[in-house]
């Protein structure tokens, strides 16, 4: 009779950061990780935005000080990063929604690069707007 031995295996563990391990992965994994990072960034921005809006309650002087700060060249790169995050998250979200109902699944990479091209054009236009307006 064959005796069986219970193996003391290294148990499979939850790896909370697994989604960030994109080295040697393909476009889809990069797109997913970037989408999640952009989403987290946008959540942080929303909290910051609500905090900024609360300055309105502190009177015109406080608000005017903030507006002056927001118009400074130092803030411009942050505006561009924010726009990039919104464009990436929004347009990649469209791709995920489309393939999520079975549309363009086999063309998901081409769809991704097409939407990223649109995002790049809109980002350039937006940056031009930030600089000139």
């Amino acid at each position: 009779m064959v005796e069986t031995t219970q193996l003391n295996v290294r148990r499979r563990q939850r790896r909370p950061g697994a989604w960030l391990h994109v080295r040697r992965r393909h476009v889809g994994s990069w797109a997913f990780a970037l989408n999640r990072l952009a989403g987290l960034g946008l959540v942080l921005y929303l909290i910051l935005h609500l905090f900024v809006l609360s300055l309105l309650a502190k009177g015109p002087a406080t608000w005017n000080d903030f507006v002056a700060l927001a118009k400074s060249p130092l803030i411009l790169p942050l505006d561009i990063i924010l726009l990039a995050g919104i464009l990436y998250h929004g347009l990649n979200g469209i791709r995920v929604a489309l393939i999520g109902v079975g549309i363009g699944v086999r063309q998901h990479k081409a769809l991704f690069w097409t939407l990223m091209l649109i995002a790049a054009v809109l980002l350039l236009l937006g940056t031009w707007g930030f600089i000139t307006v």
Binding site: R10, R11, R12, H21, G28, S29, A31, G100, H108
Partner: protein
């Protein structure tokens, strides 16, 4: 035939070891050497304690799934020279309990996978001359899927959520929905229409990228979502 010496950095872990480590082996390879050939050479000539799973040597059994240079592959059909690196890193599959060296415990995967009932076999397997092996009640497997677990290892969601049903099983469920052959797809659809089912996928499509058998689990998961969405919309308008 041109030969080359390649350095193999192999993941090692034995029962009772506090932590895994890597061992390095130098192996002479030629244009036809596969990673599995190299591992067998290491075990025969350098370290008889090296453990790994394998059987058929021709991408049919799916047992030699492992990560080579960070990507999930079947070692038996991965040509060493075509990797194009002087050092080849060999590691076990992720997202499964580690037993020893390159061997992981696949029982959890098989357990979940079998819940899709695996009734799908090709017509050719019904041929009268096709004999069922001793101890096996009937032919049972999803055609094409090798049950190698590469998709499970590559999926970023399986890594973060061990309760996720996973790409291979969802692909099997989609085949049952496509072609029930007497099975009841409704019960399976109810099972995968859940937080840990097809809705858990984040469409990274890494499963489809690494699948050595063109099962396209990512496509199957999206097809399941489409099917469930159509049914839910249909129910909104009073269709059964």
């Amino acid at each position: 035939m041109a030969e080359k010496i390649i350095q193999f950095k192999v993941f090692r872990y034995k029962q009772g070891d506090p932590e895994p480590h890597y061992d390095t082996f130098m192996v002479t390879v030629n244009e036809r050497t596969t990673v599995l050939d190299a591992l067998e050479t290491i075990r025969r000539d350098q370290d008889g304690t090296l453990t790994f799973r394998h059987s058929c040597h021709h991408a049919s059994c799916g047992t030699c799934g492992m990560r080579v240079n960070g990507r999930e592959v079947l070692a038996c059909v991965t040509n060493v020279m075509e990797l194009g690196t002087s050092e080849v890193t060999v590691e076990p599959l992720q997202n499964a309990p580690l037993i020893s060296d390159l061997v992981v415990d696949m029982s959890g995967f098989y357990e979940t996978y079998s819940q899709a009932h695996m009734p799908l076999i090709r017509e050719s397997e019904y041929l009268t001359e096709s004999e069922v092996a001793e101890g096996v009640p009937f032919h049972m497997r999803l055609e094409s899927c090798l049950e190698c677990g590469l998709c499970l290892s590559a999926c970023p969601v399986v890594g973060t959520d061990p309760d996720y049903i996973g790409p291979a099983t969802l692909a099997a469920v989609w085949r049952v929905v496509q072609e029930p052959r007497g099975e009841d797809p409704e019960a399976l659809l109810a099972w995968i229409d859940s937080e840990q089912g097809c809705w858990r996928c984040h469409a990274a499509m890494e499963c489809t990228e690494v699948c050595p058998s063109n099962v396209d689990p990512g496509g199957a998961i999206m097809a399941l979502r489409g099917e469930l969405t159509r049914r839910k919309i249909g129910r909104l308008f009073g269709k059964a």
